[in-house]
């Protein structure tokens, strides 16, 4: 009986404490804004994960009181983009997640809208790409790979993601630097990283290009050999040169960033930049990025806009070479 009473009182106390804590956090969050995040992709992909991780970190850092995430997926983001431009116009508390994939999709799909119509806030993260070969491959270095490519590009089938995506673009850039005509390349597109990986493990193709995270575990297990990565500098814990170090003058990050809708006020834009910058500099964000193999490549406001223009020009040129634009 006593036990039960004690149990009841302690439960009540715990409940009350919980309630008080809830109340406190609510009071604390009074001045934090509520934001809306627009994801032009289906739940589960990279942009969606970026949005949900942002929501998580922003809330745990008490920077916002909550967020509402809207997904409008399709065609590399080009279905969602027109909607964000027309229906979210002027909404100062909202953000859209997008990235390099959308830049490519806009060009390849000849989309009527593009990213110059929205307000650049910040480039947040990037995933560098990796060039790998099966463990049994004769290619020991990136130079071997390039030499074979120069000799006869049709004999070097390379697996990666969908045609015109970041993997295909990197392959095009590597070939261009080596002086191999992009039209002669033998690129084998796969719908997902998993399928491309199985083609590599089954020795169906000569090499593979995809996000480093797709291959990292196979590389550690010795099933694949990492020839080079597309990052700007050597990465801690990765035993491979960058493409530049290997003599191929190419650098590529499959970047992801956030944009505000068109027509937001200068004050709203500045506030949003501050909010995202504060989040990007928090420890919680750093931990999440580390867990997900995202490299932090923060760039905000005007710098971001300038980068976007350059990257768009570079991607447009290579897609044209590849015959996709």
């Amino acid at each position: 009986m006593l036990n039960r009473r004690r149990f009841l009182t302690s439960t009540a106390a715990a409940g009350a404490a919980g309630f008080a804590a809830l109340h406190l956090s609510h009071a604390f969050a009074q001045d934090a804004p509520q934001i809306q995040i627009f994801v032009p992709a289906a739940p589960g992909g990279g942009w969606d994960q970026t949005a949900r991780t942002m929501d998580q970190v922003l809330r745990s850092e008490k920077l916002i009181s909550g967020s509402q995430i809207t997904n409008v997926g399709g065609a590399g983001g080009t279905v969602g983009l027109p909607q964000f431009i027309s229906q979210w116009n002027g909404k100062g508390n909202s953000l859209m997640v997008a990235g390099m994939v959308m830049v490519g999709a806009i060009i390849a799909n000849k989309s009527a809208n593009n990213l110059t119509e929205v307000t650049p806030i910040a480039r947040l993260t990037g995933e560098f790409e990796a060039l790998v070969v099966p463990a049994a491959s004769p290619f020991k270095t990136a130079a071997d790979f390039v030499a074979a490519l120069k000799a006869d590009p049709t004999k070097v089938p390379v697996a990666g993601g969908s045609a015109g995506g970041s993997d295909h673009i990197l392959f095009g850039l590597i070939a261009k630097t080596a002086g191999v005509p992009a039209a002669n390349l033998s690129y084998v597109p796969f719908a997902g990283g998993g399928e491309a990986l199985s083609a590599l493990l089954g020795n169906q193709v000569a090499a593979g290009i995809s996000g480093y995270g797709e291959f990292s575990e196979q590389v550690k297990a010795g099933a694949l050999r990492l020839l080079a990565i597309s990052a700007d500098k050597r990465q801690e814990g990765i035993d491979a040169p960058t493409l530049k170090e290997a003599g191929i003058d190419v650098e590529l990050f499959n970047w992801r960033g956030v944009f505000a809708p068109p027509g937001v006020s200068v004050a709203d834009k500045a506030a949003m930049i501050t909010l995202v910058e504060t989040m990007a500099k928090s420890d919680a964000w750093a931990t999440e990025c580390k867990n997900r193999n995202w490299t932090q490549i923060l760039l905000t406001g005007e710098d971001y806009a300038k980068f976007l223009a350059e990257d768009t020009a570079r991607i447009a040129a290579i897609l044209k070479d590849l015959g996709l634009a």
């Binding site: 994960q49 998580q56 799909n109 493990l201």
Partner: protein, 507 residues
């Protein structure tokens, strides 16, 4: 025997009250979303991903596994009762299952699919536990050439669903090819048949096509015949569950379905649809009740494909757990959940995360048991749906189909497509064209085309890849035997029966 020890340890992880609670929650949720068209397991798990910030990895994977298996069970319910498949893997179930429901055997169809799912799910999970390393080796030997040959085999065997007239059946199949080609071509990045609409760049969802042709088309057809007084739905005839004869017809189909489903599910580009087509074709060939197919509904045609899709669901976990290869949308999202725990799924997962992996496998066994216990009593409730008078029932189906389709992409274009296809389904039904080949064509064609072009890219245009690879050659040989075998058999049979009274000069 090492495996048994691991498995016992896995059960000790899964059998804690909290984890059992997660399992129960997952299976219930999975059954519910399986019943609703438009809400698939991949989307549900994606929406639940933030839970990974709150609970232990074991708990969230047990939850996700429950949802995954539950959706496979639930998907068949609407296929059978309403002719409205909730998942692409249960499209074939609708063919015979709905016929059975209309002739008063809905309870038996639901029972054979629930028990078949349990049998095949359990066999598949055993396969994951004991055969994973062997199966994955086999799976990796499949390259584009082998996949293409598998598709050829699938095309040959699906002639079983073409219906009585092969001209009409092939017409439907070609319509399916065209629908399957809509969207951006994976190999070249160029749009095909999109008519400049960005909403069509990703293609048309197979569920939208299935629901449009089957459910909406059927509803229009019923509405047009409202006063003809035909096509009465019999609520229930005979026992609610299966009779002894139905058990006898089901069990072999379950086993054959499981045997097809598990290895094909384990192939990186296998999927859950192809084994259901193959199983349906095989059951139709082997059945002693061929006259029931497409008329009153044959129970084998439900039992086999249902077992096949559940076994393939288990098969998908093989490359995911052994190599970290996500081979379905659901597996890809489960992998991203691994990453939010800082766990990198890969070849070392079985060693580095033994607790998690074996706990997950054990919870799959438990999920299967919970699901069959959950689903069998529900059958009594479900079949009551069929007592609803036809006008209200079909109005309900139309609402259900519309809401579900909108749920897939929140795109009004999909609703337009749904009703256009509904109109097409009505006309096809009216003029006696089979609708199932459309679905089969739209699933198989893009796969066959992609694999063929990949194989040719890799071989640099050399056709010999298709017969120089032993596996590919074997599959093509099987397809060839499947194509001409029945004709030779029929010829010999005719010879033998006609033999004695055949006199020279007779003709």
């Amino acid at each position: 025997m090492e495996t048994l020890g691991h498995l016992a340890h896995g059960f000790s992880v899964a059998f804690t009250p909290v984890n059992l609670m997660w399992c129960l929650l997952g299976t219930t949720l999975g059954t519910a979303i399986g019943v609703l068209p438009g809400l698939g397991p991949a989307l549900t798990i994606a929406l639940l991903l933030p839970i990974t910030y709150q609970v232990a990895p074991e708990a969230s994977f047990i939850l996700f596994a429950g949802i995954y298996y539950g959706a496979m069970y639930g998907g068949s319910t609407t296929s059978i009762l309403l002719n409205t498949p909730g998942e692409s893997a249960t499209i074939v179930t609708a063919l015979e299952g709905n016929r059975m429901a209309r002739s008063g055997r809905g309870g038996a169809a639901l029972a054979t699919s629930a028990i078949g799912s349990f049998v095949a799910g359990t066999l598949g999970t055993l396969g994951v536990a004991f055969l994973a390393p062997v199966v994955v080796k086999f799976a990796l030997s499949f390259g584009p050439a082998e996949y293409f040959s598998l598709m050829v085999l699938a095309f040959i065997t699906v002639s079983a669903v073409l219906g009585s007239s092969s001209v009409r059946g092939l017409t439907s199949l070609f319509v399916g090819f065209v629908i399957g080609m809509i969207g951006v071509d994976l190999q070249t990045g160029q749009p095909r048949f999109t008519f400049g609409m960005s909403q069509l760049l990703d293609g048309v969802d197979v569920i939208v096509v299935a629901v449009g042709l089957f459910a909406v088309g059927e509803t229009f057809y019923m509405a047009s015949r409202r006063y003809a007084g035909k096509d009465e739905i019999v609520p229930l005839k005979g026992s609610l569950y299966m009779t002894a004869a139905e058990w006898a017809r089901s069990w072999k189909a379950w086993l054959r379905g499981a045997l097809l489903g598990f290895p094909i599910g384990a192939l990186p580009a296998g999927g859950a649809e192809i084994p259901t087509f193959l199983s349906y074709a095989i059951e139709k060939k082997l059945s002693k009740h061929k006259e029931e197919f497409g008329t009153v509904g044959a129970i084998e045609g439900v039992a086999g494909p249902e077992a096949a899709n559940n076994a393939s669901a288990a098969g998908v976990l093989v490359p995911m757990l052994t190599l970290g290869l996500p081979t379905s949308a659901t597996a890809a999202i489960m992998l991203s959940a691994f990453q939010s725990y800082g766990i990198n799924p890969g070849p070392m997962l079985f060693m580095t995360q033994a607790n998690l992996v074996w706990g997950l496998i054990a919870s799959l066994f438990i999920a299967n048991i919970i699901l069959v216990i959950l689903n069998l009593p529900l059958i009594g409730l479900w079949v009551r749906l069929l007592k609803i008078p036809a006008p209200q029932l079909y109005a309900g189906i139309l609402v259900f189909a519309t809401v579900g389709t909108y749920g897939i992409s929140q795109s009004p274009i999909d609703l337009v497509i749904l009703y256009l296809l509904g109109g097409a389904g009505f006309l096809m039904r009216r003029f006696d064209f089979p609708t199932a080949p459309v679905i089969i064509g739209m699933i198989l064609w893009p796969l066959a085309e992609t694999q063929f072009r990949r194989a040719m890219t890799i071989s640099n245009g050399d056709w010999s890849v298709f017969y120089k690879h032993p596996l590919s050659l074997t599959l093509l040989t099987l397809a060839f035997i499947g194509l001409i075998g029945p004709h030779i058999y029929a010829f010999i049979e005719r010879r033998r029966t006609r033999g004695p009274e055949h006199v020279p000069g007779d003709a």
